[in-house]
C-alpha cells in the first residue's frame, strides 16, 4: 500500500528521502483532505489523470467529519423541508448501500416520531412527503408506540435507514486508494497554495519532520471545516461558511431499544442512532449538539480544536429526550465525539445540505469542495466532466 508519512512515496521506485523545494514533486492533481469526499474525488481523478496525491493532516484517513458526523445513510427522511436534498438522498441511498455493502449496518429498526408541540411538520405531512419521494414508510407497531409519551408525540413511523461503520469504511477506502494507485501522504498539513505559473499550483506542505513544496495542475481543497484556513493563509478570498462545534454523545442504551434507531421530527428535537464503529448509540440533539457557532468572516478565520476539554451537553440532551421517550432515562453515558461541523449559511434558511463545488476559486484549477451528506458523493462526478474534456493533460 502506498501510504507514507512524509516524505512522499513515489510509484514504481524508491522513496525520496526529502523533496527539495528546488526540485518539487509534481502531480496532476492533489486532493487536500483525506475524508470520504477527498478519497472518492481522488479515485475519480485517477480515472483521468496519472499522478494523484491525497494530503491528510491527521495520521489516518476518514478521521474527522466522515467518522464523527452521525453514521447514518437514509432515504431522505430528514429533509421534509428541502425536497431536493431529500430526493437526492433517496436516489443515492441504494447506490451507496450497494457499493459499500460490507460497511453497512442494517441490523436495526429505524423509527421516525413526529412531535406534537413545536414540530415543523405534522404526521400527515411527513407521511405525504415520504410518499412523494417514494421512501418506505409504515405505521409503527403498538409495542414501539408504547415507548413514547403520547402527550408529546403525534405519531410514530417505521422506516428504512441504515448506519455505516466508519472504521470498515476507512479500510475500504484505503484499499480502493491502493488498488487505484492513488498516493496518500499522512501527517501532512498544507500551509498555503501559491500560483507557480499558469500551468501549476505550488502547495506548501508541513510534516512533523520537514517542510516541502509540491506542484500540481489541479488542487482540490476538500478539508471541510478547514477550507478557509488554507484560503486565508494563501491570501485567497474566503468562502462564506458557518461552523458549529458539535457534540455527539455516545451512550449505552437499555435493552428494549438496543436494536432501534429513533429520530424525532422536525424541530428542536433529537436522534438516537446505532454507531457501529463503537458498538454504541449516538445521541444528538438539534438544540444541544451545537455548542457554539461562528462564521469565518465574522472574525479572523479561527481554529477551534474540537477535542480540547469542553463541558458535555449530555445532561441537557438526555433530559429533553426522556420527556419524549421515558425509557431513555436508563441510558448510560460513555463518551462524546466532538467535531467542527461546517455548513453553507444558506442551509440555515432552507434546511438543505447541498455539496459546494467551487471551481477556480482564487487560483486557476483550484477547486473547493465542501461535502454534505456522505451518500450524496454520486452528485460529484458530473462536476468533474471537465477532466474528460481536457483529457487530463497537463
Amino acid at each position: 500500500m502506498t501510504i507514507t508519512n512524509s516524505p512522499i512515496f513515489h510509484p514504481g521506485g524508491g522513496s525520496l528521502t526529502a523533496s527539495s523545494p528546488l526540485n518539487p514533486s509534481s502531480y496532476d492533481a492533489v486532493v487536500i483532505g483525506g475524508g470520504f469526499f477527498g478519497c472518492r474525488i481522488a479515485l475519480y481523478l485517477k480515472e483521468h489523470l496519472n499522478k494523484v496525491l491525497i494530503l491528510e493532516k491527521e495520521a489516518d484517513v476518514l478521521q474527522r467529519a466522515s467518522y464523527a458526523n452521525q453514521a447514518r445513510v437514509h432515504n431522505g427522511y430528514h429533509y421534509p423541508r428541502s425536497i431536493l436534498t431529500a430526493l437526492r438522498s433517496r436516489v443515492n441511498f441504494p447506490r451507496f448501500v450497494s457499493e459499500y455493502r460490507e460497511c453497512i449496518d442494517s441490523s436495526f429498526d429505524k423509527y421516525y416520531a413526529i412531535g406534537k408541540i413545536t414540530s415543523k411538520v405534522t404526521a400527515n405531512q411527513f407521511k405525504t412527503f415520504c410518499q412523494r419521494i417514494d421512501a418506505f414508510i409504515e405505521p409503527a407497531p403498538i409495542d414501539i408506540k408504547k415507548l413514547f409519551n403520547n402527550n408529546l408525540i403525534e405519531d410514530v413511523f417505521y422506516t428504512k435507514e441504515y448506519a455505516f461503520d466508519a472504521v470498515k469504511l476507512k479500510h475500504r477506502m484505503l484499499n480502493d486508494i491502493e488498488t487505484a494507485g492513488v498516493k496518500l501522504r499522512l501527517n501532512s498539513k498544507v500551509i498555503k497554495l501559491e500560483d507557480a505559473d499558469n500551468l501549476a499550483i505550488k502547495i506548501f506542505v508541513e510534516s512533523p519532520d520537514n517542510q516541502d513544496i509540491i506542484t500540481a495542475k489541479y488542487v482540490f481543497n476538500c478539508t471541510y471545516s478547514s477550507i478557509n484556513h488554507i484560503l486565508d493563509r494563501s491570501n485567497l478570498p474566503t468562502i462564506p461558511l458557518k461552523h458549529e462545534l458539535t457534540e455527539m454523545a455516545l451512550v449505552e442504551v437499555p435493552d428494549p431499544i438496543r436494536h432501534l434507531g429513533i429520530t424525532l421530527m422536525c424541530g428542536p428535537f433529537f436522534s438516537i442512532m446505532p454507531f457501529p464503529a463503537r458498538g454504541l448509540h449516538t445521541l444528538s440533539h438539534v438544540r444541544y449538539t451545537p455548542h457554539c457557532f461562528w462564521k469565518d468572516e465574522d472574525a479572523d478565520v479561527k481554529t477551534v480544536n474540537p477535542k480540547s476539554g469542553h463541558k458535555t451537553n449530555y445532561p441537557y440532551m438526555i433530559k429533553d429526550a426522556e420527556r419524549y421517550i421515558p425509557i431513555l432515562s436508563k441510558c448510560q453515558y460513555v463518551d462524546s465525539i466532538w467535531e467542527v461541523k461546517t455548513v453553507l449559511p444558506q442551509s440555515e434558511v432552507d434546511d438543505s445540505r447541498p455539496i459546494l463545488f467551487k471551481k477556480h476559486h482564487g487560483l486557476k484549477n483550484s477547486i473547493c469542495v465542501l461535502g454534505g451528506k456522505i451518500d450524496n458523493i454520486y452528485d460529484v462526478p458530473p462536476e468533474l466532466k471537465f477532466m474528460e474534456l481536457t483529457g487530463g493533460v497537463i
Binding site: 408541540i117 413545536t118 402527550n151 451545537p290 455548542h291 457557532f293 469542553h310 441537557y316 433530559k319
Partner: protein, 332 residues
C-alpha cells in the same frame, strides 16, 4: 458554593421588557451559576413590540444555557408561561416574572421542592400601591371563588412558583387554550406549600391592569373553571317554569270562577317582566358558555412559536475571566 446535582429550569415571560431584561438575566444567571451544575433559562418573548428580542439575542452570545422562544404574537402571560413549560427540561422549574419577582429566592424554593413539595407557590405580602377598587375587588373575587363557585384559588398568589417535573408533566397534559396556571397548579393536586415574599420593582411599577381587563379576567377564571353559573341558570330556569305553571293554574282558576276578567294588566306586566328578566339572565350565562364551547371546538393551538434561539457562547469566551487590568479614577 456547592452546586446541586439537580437540573433547574427557569421560565420567564417577557413582554416589552427591553429595559429590564439585561439586569434580570444577569441576576438569574448569577443565581443559577452559583447554585446548580445544570440549568437553563427559558425566556418567552410574548410578542414584544420593543427591542426585547434583540436585547436577548445579545445576551445569548454572552451567557450559556439561555433559550429564547419568540411567540408569533402576544398571547398573554399565562399562555407564554405554559409555552415555556411545554419545552423546559429541568427536574424543577421556577416561574419568575422579571418585573416583580426576586431571583434570589429561587435556591430556597428549589430546596423546598427537593424536600418533597411538588408545588411551592409565592404569595405577595401586600397589595400596597394598588387602588382601592382593586383591593376590594380582589377580596370579593377570592371570597366568591371560595364560597360560591368553589374554585380553589389561593388568595394573593402570584405567578412566582417552583414546580417539580411531575407537576410540569401533569400541567402539559391539560390540552386547553385557557391555562390559568395559578389555578391549574391547584387543580393537578400534588403536595403544595406556599411562601410569602415581597415583590420587587425592577425599573418600573408592575403595570396595573384596567378595571375592565381585571373584570374580564375574573369572569374568565370563573366561567372557564366552574360550572356553577350554569347550574345557577338551571335553577333559575326551573324556578321560572314552576312559577309559570302556578301562574297558569291561577289563570285557569280566574277563568273558571270570575265573571269579569277585564283588568289584570298589572299582573300581566309583572309576569312579563319577571319572565324576561329570567330569560335574559339565562341567555347571558348560556352565551358565555356557548362562547367557551365555540373556542374549544375551534381547537386552535394555544400559541405559536415563531422561532427558537439558543445561547451560542464561543469557546474563546468560555475561559473569559471577570478581570480588569486597570482601575480608572472616575468621579462617582
Amino acid at each position: 458554593m456547592a452546586t446541586y446535582d439537580c437540573f433547574v429550569s427557569v421560565v420567564a415571560p417577557l413582554s416589552n421588557d427591553a429595559r429590564i431584561v439585561k439586569p434580570f438575566v444577569t441576576e438569574v444567571m448569577e443565581v443559577l451559576r452559583n447554585n446548580y451544575a445544570n440549568y437553563e433559562l427559558v425566556l418567552v418573548n410574548d410578542g414584544s413590540e420593543d427591542d426585547t428580542a434583540e436585547q436577548v439575542c445579545g445576551l445569548l452570545k454572552e451567557y450559556e444555557c439561555i433559550r429564547l422562544l419568540n411567540l408569533s404574537r402576544s398571547f398573554g402571560t399565562d399562555v407564554a408561561i405554559s409555552s415555556g413549560l411545554d419545552s423546559v427540561i429541568g427536574d424543577f422549574v421556577a416561574i419568575v416574572l422579571p418585573e416583580s419577582d426576586p431571583p434570589d429566592l429561587i435556591p430556597d424554593l428549589i430546596q423546598q421542592a427537593r424536600l418533597g413539595y411538588d408545588i411551592v407557590i409565592g404569595i405577595r405580602n401586600n397589595r400596597s400601591g394598588e387602588p382601592l377598587w382593586m383591593k376590594v375587588g380582589a377580596k370579593l373575587f377570592y371570597l366568591s371563588c371560595k364560597s360560591i363557585f368553589k374554585i380553589p384559588l389561593i388568595e394573593n398568589a402570584t405567578q412566582f412558583r417552583v414546580l417539580s417535573r411531575a407537576v410540569v408533566n401533569a400541567i402539559i397534559q391539560v390540552n386547553d387554550k385557557y391555562r390559568y396556571l395559578r389555578l391549574l397548579s391547584s387543580y393537578v393536586g400534588y403536595r403544595r406549600k406556599t411562601f410569602t415574599y415581597e415583590q420587587i420593582r425592577r425599573y418600573r411599577r408592575p403595570k396595573l391592569k384596567s378595571f375592565l381587563e381585571t373584570v374580564d379576567i375574573a369572569l374568565q377564571v370563573i366561567v372557564v373553571n366552574s360550572v356553577r353559573p350554569l347550574r345557577f341558570a338551571s335553577y333559575l330556569g326551573l324556578l321560572a317554569s314552576i312559577f309559570n305553571i302556578l301562574y297558569m293554574g291561577y289563570i285557569a282558576l280566574v277563568y273558571l270562577f270570575k265573571d269579569q276578567v277585564a283588568e289584570g294588566w298589572v299582573t300581566l306586566s309583572f309576569q312579563n317582566a319577571i319572565a324576561f328578566f329570567c330569560i335574559s339572565i339565562v341567555l347571558t350565562i348560556l352565551s358565555e358558555y356557548v362562547g367557551f364551547i365555540f373556542e374549544r371546538l375551534k381547537g386552535w393551538p394555544a400559541y405559536y412559536i415563531a422561532e427558537e434561539k439558543n445561547s451560542s457562547v464561543l469557546i474563546a469566551d468560555r475561559d473569559r475571566r471577570n478581570i480588569v487590568k486597570n482601575s480608572d479614577n472616575i468621579q462617582v
